[in-house]
């Protein structure tokens, strides 16, 4: 299995009616989970829809070894039906009129091998729930059905559009573990979009940081997240109120809803940050000082 080479460009009006330029080039390594991380409005979900063939870029290409899914120069745009991509939508898109079993086998039809189905049901812990309908399942069970349905056809690429965003943190953490475990067993190639830093760090084997429609950086999670202090134990979500820079440092004034505080960062770190951005102020536990008051 080869890795995907993605190079996509598109101009379109965003939700505010302003012109938005998406201009991304990155890779999706084979048999790894690639996390595309970025704030809301960065263009993450649009990239995912391009990958699935649900939308078409103005120009660029999506290539995987000898396979070309999209190449504007050659006039190639393979339909979603022929791309061999599984898509997990944010709201999962389970078919409400089909039970668990029929939802899962929908991509392969009735001639699905019984052994394959039972293995998948076992791996996703859905045994005994085959005849239930989606509205009779918990949030976590729905996630597993959507995952099993996406996996049954063994697609070349699995696309996840923030599928865990609606879950509480306990269920989310459990499903992260299950996804990692399943990935170890099957070794699928996946691309997961999220704006949740902890989810990104937890699941990523390869990470792409997206901001304002552009790739800020790409690489291993260690390179990207550790370098940015995002593996830290202490994390405070906050919004940037103002920024002042000298030659070396930038002083960020931020507020977290309850208080306003100031943070010094290197100018390199502050390069991608702007006033109004939602950020996470992070510190490693070893750097923290605790005082009894």
């Amino acid at each position: 299995m080869s890795f995907f080479e993605v190079d996509l460009h598109k101009s379109f009006p965003n939700t505010k009616g302003e012109n938005f330029n998406l201009d991304v080039t990155f890779t999706v390594p084979a048999a790894k989970i690639t996390v595309v991380f970025g704030p809301s409005g960065a263009g993450k979900s649009t990239v995912l829809r391009f990958m699935a063939g649900l939308e078409e870029a103005d120009h660029g290409s999506i290539k995987c070894g000898g396979n070309i899914w999209f190449d504007s120069a050659k006039g190639i745009n393979v339909s979603p039906q022929k791309r061999s991509a599984g898509f997990l939508f944010q709201d999962l898109a389970l078919f409400p009129h089909l039970n668990v079993k029929d939802n899962i086998i929908y991509p392969v039809g009735r001639n699905c091998e019984r052994q394959k189905l039972s293995t998948l049901l076992e791996m996703t812990q859905l045994e005994g729930l085959e005849s239930r309908f989606p509205d009779e399942l918990s949030g976590g069970q729905k996630q597993r059905v959507a995952l099993a349905r996406a996996l049954i056809k063994e697609p070349d690429l699995l696309l996840f559009d923030e599928p865990f965003s609606a879950l509480d943190s306990a269920v989310k953490n459990r499903l992260h573990d299950e996804l990692i475990e399943l990935h170890k067993k099957i070794g699928f190639t996946a691309m997961l979009v999220t704006h949740d830093i902890s989810e990104a760090y937890r699941l990523a084997e390869h990470a792409v940081i997206l901001k304002n429609g552009r790739v800020v950086t790409e690489g291993t999670p260690e390179k990207i997240f550790l370098g940015r202090g995002l593996s830290a134990r202490i994390q405070i979500p906050a919004k940037v109120v103002s920024m002042e820079s000298d030659e070396i440092h930038t002083l960020l004034t931020v507020e977290d809803g309850r208080r306003i505080f100031r943070v010094f960062v290197d100018n390199d770190e502050a390069e991608t940050i702007a006033i109004g951005d939602d950020i996470i102020v992070a510190a490693k536990a070893s750097d923290a000082l605790v005082f009894k008051i």
Binding site: A52, L54, S79, R83, S84, F87, P96, H97
Partner: protein
């Protein structure tokens, strides 16, 4: 027998019209729900016209079209060597246009209410647009499709103005129950009119009750 003939003709007209409306209405309303064509509001307005137009106006223009001097009527006569106006076939054409919005509007609403992501999910699973339509869109629109079909049936059963304009009052050919009621009242035979009226009332109520009961059940299961 006197009572049965107009009733039988009414039911036959309703069945034929409803069948035609389902065959044409489903693809048309799906197209209307999915299209982004600029003249869509104008098309929707034309479709809805029979709801607000006096039936005699619709009947008049249809009579012009299907009469012996009209374009459709002339073509029909040259092919079948028979008159289209004042025939059962003419009634079917009139009923079709008169009940068209009652079939199309609920169907269109049902198609529009199907979550777009379910359709896209089916595509990404390798299913063609036709398979997606049959296996996802149609079952999820079932309630609206049945409502459209039943409303068309009930509406055709009770139609009077268009039928009178296009079909007149030919026993066994165009004399449907609503015309028969009018005839009986004109002849001051109120008890005869009452029998037709009661039967129509009973059938219409039963059909509507059945669809409401079905929709209630459908809400629970889908």
């Amino acid at each position: 027998m006197v009572f049965l003939e107009p009733l039988w003709l009414t039911i036959k007209l309703s069945f034929v019209t409803t069948s035609l409306l389902i065959c044409v209405g489903i693809p048309f309303s799906y197209w209307l729900s999915a299209t982004g064509i600029r003249i869509k509001p104008a098309i929707e307005a034309v479709v809805a016209l029979p709801i607000v137009l006096p039936p005699t106006v619709l009947g008049f223009y249809l009579l012009i079209a299907i009469g012996s001097a009209g374009p459709v009527g002339r073509i029909y006569e040259s092919i079948f060597d028979a008159q289209l106006a004042f025939s059962f076939s003419g009634l079917v054409i009139g009923s079709f246009f008169y009940s068209f919005p009652f079939a199309v509007q609920p169907m269109q609403s049902a198609f529009e209410s199907v979550d777009r992501r379910l359709i896209e999910a089916s595509w990404t699973m390798g299913k063609s647009k036709l398979i997606t339509f049959v296996r996802i869109i149609l079952p999820l629109s079932k309630k609206g499709l049945i409502t459209g079909g039943v409303l068309s049936f009930a509406h055709t059963m009770g139609e009077f103005g268009v039928v009178l304009m296009l079909g007149g009052n030919i026993p066994g050919e165009t004399r449907v129950a609503s015309i028969a009621i009018y005839d009986e009242v004109q002849a001051l035979n109120y008890s005869g009119a009452n029998i037709f009226a009661l039967i129509l009332l009973f059938i219409s109520f039963s059909v509507l009750l059945a669809v409401f009961l079905y929709n209630r059940k459908a809400v629970r299961t889908v």
